[in-house]
Subunit: 223 residues, 2 copies
């Protein structure tokens, strides 16, 4: 069954501010985004890769690819104003069927076992997403009050989220809802049950500058 | 107003297994637990400190104190079979009133501003706990199914959790409930509203060996 990777980095150019976007920061001497794409390449070097980036970052990315002699073949697709539109644009560029792994460009620590679990479950059941138990105590807040929530009833969700290509394209043809925080929520609109597999704890999302130091510390732990 | 710190480390000796308990592992050359107690000492060196440890670890701890010339004055109290009993034992050793900060021994990265916010809010309202927005997408799971949960309705809770001494002693006189995962949940049984203040993201709980590497990476970021 054909496998695709859809790597999404930077919902919109206006997040850039005055700083270098997180996906281009160096981790062990290589831009974060290249590490991420290398993970998929090493997992399966026949996988079709699509990178969704804000169009304003295309030239910079192409310059980085030359500078770092980046060899992973990929299509470059322009992102939209919000993540939903970026994923939708990326999906439109994928022809054929099979499975697609939608993954945050700033999660360079996804492990090979996590990728394997996601693809195997998705092959069997049409979708799979990686989940982890919560470590911290959880409270539910409202404008008026807050109360303890039973953390054992919840899991934290990462990426890659792997889907049957036709199914996720159908879900993304439905209207955008600002409540979507991941792709599984989009698919859920079709009434499909979502399948959870174990993630790997190191697979953090690089959102703060200090996360780069954490990622460097975790690097040697990831297969 | 008098300030107390109640540092809780290791619910029971049987967690030790064959490995050194996390609270004794070295971080930048010093046992994690000493870093934690140093944080409170540097915040206020007149603060009364109580350390709750499994009794089986007393001798080892005292040996570490000599070896590392650890000078923070503290009372040593024997822990119970579960965390609830450990905290209860610690509280029983505190005389007088004022405020008590109940803190995980394996959170050596609590910042001075977090301590300040907790004590100031608790002085004003009787209790305060540090909270942080969730980064990962959240799903609610049941044996039958799972569904997206709105992560903006939830926060993750850390320690120190600071309380009026009399109030938290009263709460801990009520029966134990295995659903308790923190001290605020115990106080909540009295019908008291819980006050949230901002925590600091670096204030992680050292639960896995790899968390030590993370803590070392974050060390320089904490005031």
């Amino acid at each position: 069954m054909e496998k695709h990777a859809l790597i999404v980095a930077g919902g919109s150019g206006n997040r850039m501010g005055s700083n270098v976007p997180k996906q281009f920061l160096l981790l062990n001497g290589l831009p974060v985004l290249m590490h991420t794409m290398n993970r998929f390449w090493h997992f399966d070097n026949k996988m079709d890769q699509t990178l969704v980036l804000p169009e304003a970052q295309f030239a910079y990315w192409q310059q980085l690819c030359v500078q770092f002699q980046f060899k992973v073949p990929h299509r470059l697709v322009a992102g939209g104003s919000v993540r939903f539109n970026s994923v939708k644009n990326g999906l439109a560029s994928i022809s054929g069927d099979g499975l697609v792994a939608i993954h945050d460009g700033v999660r360079p620590l996804v492990s090979r076992p996590t990728l394997l679990r996601c693809f195997e479950m998705a092959r069997e059941k049409g979708n799979a997403i990686p989940a982890l138990p919560l470590i911290e105590t959880l409270r539910e807040v409202s404008p008026e009050a807050n109360q303890a929530a039973d953390r054992s009833r919840f899991v934290g969700i990462q990426t890659p989220q792997v889907f049957d290509v036709k199914l996720i394209k159908e879900a993304y043809s439905l209207p955008y809802n600002p409540a979507f925080t991941d792709d599984a929520m989009v698919l859920e609109q079709l009434g499909r049950p979502i399948n959870l597999v174990d993630g790997n704890r190191e697979n953090i999302k690089i959102t703060h500058a200090s996360d780069l130091d954490i990622a460097a510390a975790l690097w040697h732990l990831v297969e």
